[in-house]
Amino acid sequence: MKQRFIKALRIAAAGIGTVAIPIISHAQIPSHPISVSPWVSPMQDEIERAMSLELPGMPRPHYIIATLIEQQEALVEASLGAVLQQHQDRSRVLKVEVRVGDRSFDNSNFLGGSPQAIVVWPAPLDDDPLCLRRLLWLAADRSYIGATESYEAKRAHREAMTIEQDRIDDFSASAAVRFRGSSAPVVPPLDRLSALATAASSVFSNHPKVYQSRVRMAVRSQARTLLDSENRVIEDSASLVEIEIVAQTQARDGMELSDRHAFASIHFDEIPTEETMVRWARELMVRLETMREAAIVQPYSGPVLFEGRASSRLFRTLLAEELSATPSPEPTEGQDTLGALATRKGFRILPVTFDVVDDPTVDRIAGLPAIGHYLFDDQGVRAQPVHVVKEGILDMLLSSRTPSKTVAISNGHGRAGWLGDARGRAANVWIRARDGLSRASLRNALLEAARKEGLDYGIIVAGFEESSGIEGTSFSLGRRDSQWPPSAEAYRLYRGGKLEPIRGLTIQGLRPRDLRRIVAAGADANVYSYRASANAVRAFNDSVGEIPTTIIAPSVLFPDVDVVGMAPPYPLVPAAAP
């Protein structure tokens, strides 16, 4: 496994020229002998039995996959040195999907059918194989009925549509694999998380200009048992740490301002020290207080430099969410589907200096934690690094077992979350630019571009407002992510190097095709981790999903971006506290 990955890295490195340091690190890949957990036998038996499900005159199952996930999680939320809520939980969930028909045509990837083709039910916490068998028996039955309804609806839909001559199959072949990884790590004690959260939250004490602040820490550990009707058996684990420090205030004119510091890792031993958390909170507070005093942005058309976290956030929207090879489900007329780049394979989407690799097999890129790590995807297909963009050309898309015209087989990116169907989705997207510039050079490039446009200054966007990335918390800061949320941190850069903070900035109109117009990129690497939605169609509340994803990107300079300010009226400033 490791050897194969190094080969992939060399390919990637060859594409972009110089790679200065070994910047990708591997997660531990255990090689335990295959043994059988208590769940495997009952799950295998029930899957085998469910393959005989049949309604008279209706298609039979051609494929069944069942996944049992045991999860432990803990969550703490604190404000001004006090715990507001803490929670620890253990749960098990069984997910069952029956596909009926055959590989060339089955019930999948169809929106107009029954939602019950995928059944997700809570499973017993007790190690009771009979109870699990019963649950799987009922879930498979329900799923089969749902799949049959979807199959017939899809068939009727197809009957009414023009038939494509080169129609592709609905499900690709994939070699069966048996794998047993490490067991799930133990979740850190709540007391430890609470102590860290309260200490960091105390930073905001005696700072009345920061109206509201929260520190949230969420940790989770999952053990997965995945079996299917093709004799695939995967037993592995996953873990996730998420930390979020959020704060909110209003400028004197009432404009609402919020910002956050976010950290995520898959290793519990990377939970930061109290000192680090306190430092993060202080930096956030200083940023927010600076932005509170900042001038309102004026309408602007010209070069914009996206620095730091703003850049990687930008690539989430413009690139990572558009890389799916999985065809949009039918029918999606009028709906905003993902995968805008699916038809761009072989075309330039970035400048020639850019390379992009999506690699789920690593847990660290450029020294930064990457949470999109896994060894087998949600369809039990071995994860592969995919060289998505070579010298600016879109070379490969991210695929699941649902074939497309451009990608016939899965490359281990079938990701589903708990409720969704497996689609090609990003994991750890690493965007690199050959001959990247230093920060100073990049800023000079911004000034030069502004000068050519006859502008006195250029704009730097260093952060966007984000709504909370952690569910189950009590207080929502920031606006729901529209495609381009307002800036959390932005500046005017004048000749001579003077930086002037500005607030209320919203960018307009950037699309994936604008990536080609990037004129300069940094040598830096900036991390943005989030949980992507499992939805195949964009929805209003997609900002917090289930699929851990990381973007690592350099700062980038766009030659012309339209910028506007958030228009008044703004909410009244609260009365001073007694």
């Binding site: 029930e46 404000s79 039910w121 499973a123 007790d126 109870c131 039955d141 509201q212």
Partner: protein, 610 residues
Amino acid sequence: MAVDDPSNCRPNRCRIATATRFGSWFSCFIALGCSAAPVTSPQNPQATLALPEAAKTLSLGRRQVAVAASPTPLLERLASEVQQFGTVFSSREDTPVYHLAYEVNDTSKVDILASYGAILSHTHTRRRLLDVDLRVGSYELDNTHPLIDSAYYQGNAAIAWDDDAHESLHNTLWWETNQAYKKACKELIEVRAQRQIDVASDDQSSDYSEEAPLVHLEAPVALTVDRADWEQRVRSLSALFRGHEHIHQGFVRFELTTTNRSYVSMGGHRVQTGTTHARVSFGASGISDDGDELTRSDEIDAHDVSGLPNDEHLRFRVQHIIEDMEGLAKAPKAEPYVGPALVDGKAAAVLFHEVFGHRVEGHRQKGQIEGQTFIDQVGQPIMNSVFDVYDDPTVSSVNGIDLNGFYRVDSEGVRARRAQLIEKGVFVGFLMSRMPIRGMAHSNGHGRREPGYRAIARQANLIVDPSRVTSREALERALIDEVKRQRKPFGLRIGEVTGGYTTTQRGDPQAFVVEPVMVYRVYPDGRQELVRGITLEGTPLSLLSHVLAAGNDFAVFNGFCGAESGEVPASAISPSLLLRQIEVSRQPVSGQRPPLLPAPQIARSSGRKP
């Protein structure tokens, strides 16, 4: 994914049910618990039955509540803060605040769910949530005026668990009060403008009543329970469902909730209450061969975990459900029917809750879009002259059964008291919160809400209390007599119900629905036959006029009632009732098939390959 959601809180659709959620794919509502005299219907003078009197078995318990010697640190802190913020906001020159109250509900809950002999979930949660009630304007006209016709959810905020976290608490109160103030000012402008536009309402009563500040200090409660023991108990109980062909899912759930409530107002209210609610609930579901979803459930509520019965009794209750499920699987489907019926106590309690209780909630008499069924009925006979109906939150138990609707102080800081609604068949009054209505200027302690909502008048313990009752046997004989008199092939006996709902707004039918589970045809020869698949429907005034007689077997329905101000615990108590006429219709059919393959353990026992 199949997810059932039993919530049903549309403003005009009020529902009572036991709201027992058994996991994400199965949820059910449960009814609990389970007779006459010569009576005369005022609207149907001919409806007189001469039945032998029996002794009434209605014993009301009033629980002593432990009194605290002093306020908790949190209450003291909140009292100090509400005075400070009250001073700041009431002295605003533009739009002063005239009422400000803070309520904190500190809730801890243990919830253990077992299915088919295995634990499905086991959680222990704590929440400490702040509600801010802030009003601008005046008692006569304030920002809540549109509430008469509009939404009531306002949200709440988490606050620090530590009583010494003064800065955190102060910051949260400051922020939430500011947010509430801004919202209230905006609402008041809209209210005043709307008053200029709209035709004046018939009801010119104030928006809020002045009530004397109350100081009431109960001792805080703590959540203490042997969780491992209960885990084992529910696991064992749920295993009883194993091996029964028609029971696809069988659940047992244990819930223990403690709530320490602190309520203060700038007017001087200082209230702290401590309540404990324990519940064991059972549920089973399956699908009949003809596609009917079969569900049967039961629950036991108590004011303390020590009030729950022993395992022997709990096993008996589970076995009862199993027998009912097996009976339902074999039972024929019922057809639409109009005719006489004997409604068992719990079903009758739900019937009164839906038919009558929701329609006498004070605020419904004020809303222009409400049906106002009883607004002009005060002083008028509306049912049989032997009936008294009242709602009394201060009753803690009936015949030894703890009541969910028991409390001492309502959500608006008003001491709970009995509200007489029907006296000798004559309608006499409404359930009142601090929203006055024409002719009733003050609260009678029924302002209730779920945290996060604004309080309105709600039912607590609705008690149907006829002055003359008869034995169950005499009531059953009277049913058969009525069947024969009406020349019907059979009458109906409505046994267990899952719950019910009603619509109260104009434009909607002024109707109610009760969802029975155990329904029996009662033939003239006395034979009873279980049937399934029907819904009991009707209109309120008509149904009340059809009540002929009451039994002496008072039963309790303990549940949770959902309406505009959220889900609140409630009880209804009634004897069995004989009705001259009810109407039932077919229930919707799920359309689901029974599982195509045999259950794993059934296959094993029958020698088929599992």
